[in-house]
């Protein structure tokens, strides 16, 4: 397992697809049906406040699929997951200036901030990546969450190849391209982070000078 981890992300990705393909064959359960009573409850229970409009509870295909964990974890769900991942993969744009790695210092600040996009924020409140909420990144920050894997020595362990660059870029832009129900927000898809900010986060993980890779 350790070796698998250390080799390359491409291998991981292949294992991934392999498992997915196996799962397509059987199809037993189906996605939960729309429940008018539940929908009525949701509609009547919320109101718009500031930048948080009611459209935020209109689900897209990915959210609908992942709101039904029983189906999502079934064999039939696995086939649907591949479909969802394809939809999300198609949204990813590679950097317009061809640059994958920006400034790790700004990246660290973005990773630290969990702010933005709530009804107490404004449209101009900078949105943070909130990365430390879920990931260990620079070991110097002891207050980190564990919903996601540790990213300490991210580049040092994986190397700095274009393959790793592209995979990481994609994963930050839209994590659901690889794991339909990843807990990680789709930072580019919902315009939470812009291209420059993602380049800076990339630097935190993949600049050999970044404290993460020491």
């Amino acid at each position: 397992m350790k070796t698998l981890m250390m080799t390359s992300t491409k291998h991981l990705f292949l294992v991934f697809l392999g498992c997915g393909a196996l799962a397509i064959s059987a199809n037993v359960s189906a996605q939960q049906k729309a429940d008018p009573q539940f929908e009525k409850m949701m509609k009547n229970s919320f109101r718009a406040e500031g930048i948080a409009g009611l459209d935020r509870i209109d689900q897209d295909a990915t959210q609908k699929f992942c709101s039904d964990p029983i189906f999502a974890s079934s064999k039939a769900g696995a086939a649907k997951a591949i479909e969802i991942q394809k939809i999300n993969m198609a949204t990813i744009k590679q950097p317009t200036d061809g640059k994958y790695v920006g400034d790790w210092k700004s990246g660290e600040a973005i990773a630290q901030s969990g702010r933005g996009a709530t009804w107490t924020d404004t449209a101009t409140t900078p949105i943070g990546g909130g990365c430390y909420n879920c990931h260990e990144i620079d070991k110097k920050e002891i207050s980190y969450g564990n919903i996601g894997p540790s990213l300490w020595n991210y580049g040092k362990n994986r190397g700095y190849s274009q393959e790793v660059m592209t995979y990481t870029w994609n994963r930050i832009n839209n994590s659901k391209a690889y794991n339909a129900c990843s807990n990680m927000p789709r930072f580019a898809h919902f315009k939470l982070l812009n291209e420059k900010q993602i380049q800076d986060l990339m630097a935190l993980l993949l600049d050999p000078q970044s404290p993460v890779n020491q």
Partner: protein, 150 residues
């Protein structure tokens, strides 16, 4: 009377009020150390307390956590085997260094616990005055970021 009035005028309005309300005796109000609370560094506060350079002493115990889950509430306690008449809590990196000071009349145990705010990770000092001499204990308390940060 006249003398007392003059003395009152010197105090801030607040302490004049306190004294005139009879809540806190004039003698105590006189002790309130505005300069100490406005001190921006350890040296400022040491000077204002008349504690030029307190010695570190194992007789003074600073009871506080190594990590505070939130800087808004950091529990800090001081206890000592010395016959303490006065105690103070100082936070090196706070905007105002002195957080609180306590006066312990004879018969009061040399022990106090309170809760303070810390803007960031900092050294915290527990100062104890006994037999006219100041001693201290120091400890770093880490203040962590928490929650979702939003």
């Amino acid at each position: 009377m006249n003398q007392q009035r003059r003395a009152l005028i010197k105090y801030s309005a607040v302490f004049g009020l306190m004294a005139s309300a009879g809540l806190i005796s004039v003698a105590q109000a006189e002790e309130w150390n505005k300069a100490a609370f406005e001190g921006k560094s350890l040296d400022d506060v040491f000077k204002s307390l008349g504690a030029s350079s307190p010695d570190k002493s194992s007789a003074v115990t600073l009871n506080a956590p190594d990590i505070a889950e939130n800087g808004a509430v950091v529990p800090v306690g001081i206890s000592t085997t010395l016959k303490a008449e006065q105690m103070a809590i100082l936070v090196e990196k706070n905007p105002s260094t002195l957080a609180a000071q306590f006066f312990l009349p004879a018969g009061t145990e040399p022990f106090v616990t309170t809760r303070i705010k810390m803007g960031q990770t900092s050294n915290v000092y527990a100062l104890v005055k006994a037999d006219g001499k100041w001693s201290m204990a120091v400890k770093e308390i880490k203040v962590t970021l928490g929650g979702c940060g939003g």
